[in-house]
Symmetry: C2
Subunit: 341 residues, 2 copies
Amino acid sequence: MTLDERKKRILESIIRDYVETAEPVGSRAMVKKHDLKISAATVRNEMADLEDMGYLEQPHTSAGRIPSESGFRYYVDCMMEKEPPGEREYALLQQLFEQNIEDWEQVILGIAHFLSQMTRYASFVIVPAIKFTEFRSLQLFPLDKGKALLLLVCDMGVIMHRIISIPELISSQDLQAITGMFNQAFRGKRLEEVKRSDLQLIRESLSQRRKIIDNALEAIDNLLQNSRDEKVMVSGALNILNEPEFKDMEKLKRILNVLEEDDSLRQIIPGELGEAVDIKIGRENPLEEIKEMSLVVAGYKSFGELGKIGVIGPVRMEYWKAVGTVETVRDIIEDYLKGLG
Amino acid sequence: MTLDERKKRILESIIRDYVETAEPVGSRAMVKKHDLKISAATVRNEMADLEDMGYLEQPHTSAGRIPSESGFRYYVDCMMEKEPPGEREYALLQQLFEQNIEDWEQVILGIAHFLSQMTRYASFVIVPAIKFTEFRSLQLFPLDKGKALLLLVCDMGVIMHRIISIPELISSQDLQAITGMFNQAFRGKRLEEVKRSDLQLIRESLSQRRKIIDNALEAIDNLLQNSRDEKVMVSGALNILNEPEFKDMEKLKRILNVLEEDDSLRQIIPGELGEAVDIKIGRENPLEEIKEMSLVVAGYKSFGELGKIGVIGPVRMEYWKAVGTVETVRDIIEDYLKGLG
DNA sequence: ATTAGCACTCAATAGAGGAGAGTGCTAACA
DNA sequence: TGTTAGCACTCTCCTCTATTGAGTGCTAAT
């Protein structure tokens, strides 16, 4: 279904006006504003056609037209030109990486912040679980009062620690022996491979130091459990307060609640993502709560896993800007991660 | 300024009704509801008195009365009976501590969550900086490619780490020597005492390994910087969406923004706190943005430092419940921390 | 000191009328 | 045949005007 040039121009004008003002667009006002070289009556005819095709709709008989979700979809698929961030913003983003190279957490936060600042929509960053990093070494440090620090070092700069209990009167040789045992067993394995079954194996082979090993194993299991979860970060959720379509309290509450809860958010975002930026408009979203919102998501490869970034805003979204920004940020992230590996 | 029994009863009835319904309370309806043994006319007279005293006010001539901020203040100071959480909730709270003993972060989050769930207001927890913990030991582990893990262990279970660069060809003896140096210099000191000047001292005394020491010092400095900041956690900010007084978008935005930004929040909360729970009602708050809200805060001692927990809600607050809950949670936290020290 | 009675006030609600923006249709035009 | 001007019509939004009703303050009686 392809539109002739004039219909396209009209559709685009309506979309741009509507996205800007959130008001239905009338034929006369539009002709004036966009300086189209045709009369309002002609535009009305074209609008009627576009409405028949399902790309426009009328809130009521005597109002202007607004783009339907199919209208936005057509625009996004066949007409849209992405609008990446400008020089200055781009520089700002890169700076983010340079400044906080040591602190990946900070970088992630910065990315989310940048996305929401740039687009004025809510943004999210999902960092995949780190189960694919490789185990490097394990250390036990005695602390005081029968406690020890268990330190788990992996590659990719992943380091985790826990405090465990140990018998008060254990020799440092014993401790070293146990440490060696663990290292032997785990060396070179991926974290996801270190399953309970492996842990069980060690437990059996070293029965004389059962207590301390049990504790250590439990701590490790716990750490792995944690690292198996992906991390979700949201920024700028309050931006939706500015959108007139959400002036209704109930709607607002529902949406903010979804954005606040990591689990609901995870459900919203598509599981699989291709190379291209993925766009879900309104009812294309599977979840009831956000059937009035649009989602712009991109996936990034992080140590072989799939991470996701994106923005979430009203259907009346500046898709050109959102897509341009999300895509740019994704590319920068991937470059950065490539540099690390 | 003390009120006679009847005036107190009337004031309390008005406060209870108003807190529940958010509507001005009229004489007739009140008499009926609370089954007071006096006539509406009498109540009207008393109300007029209470209004003269400044404890009540009228939105307009022909509306009922609502409690003024002074009215709430009088109630809170002279009449209120705290209402601590019930058995079940109390048990829930204690469970929180038992389950997550290893992960203080989790506990804090749980506390904030509990507070906001119980009271239905926004809650916050401020965890003081850990500058008063004592340095215990420092370790350097070589990782690959000229990198090492710097591990800083303090008492109270505080552990921090950073990755630093080291020369690729350094012997493990050298590394140990350097580690020993650091440990010597820092042992037993409080983190806040480890100032840049100390770091400078070490730097000079070991000039031959300048590069690695510089890196280590920078990392330590960085870590200390981080740990010097108190942590702020907010939960249930969206609860204010339910309060009818904030149905105005602009007001809502201002308040949510304050709750979202750690720094603004810090400014809101009183710096010094005594034993008792502190209550700030409406305009008693110094900051413009929350002059329409009330604050219930309690301080807790954490390793000699002052932490804070509390809730923030509309002036029309269930103070009895808020105070009871905050106080109970504070006590439990202090008990728990005492057990740790 | 308390209460019943009554006139008065004022916000909230509903309805009516008018203005304005926009449409669809028809007929004229290039 | 595509485009345009003209016009009647539609429908929301705004304003203006009762009307209602909860609540008060005052007065006089108990």
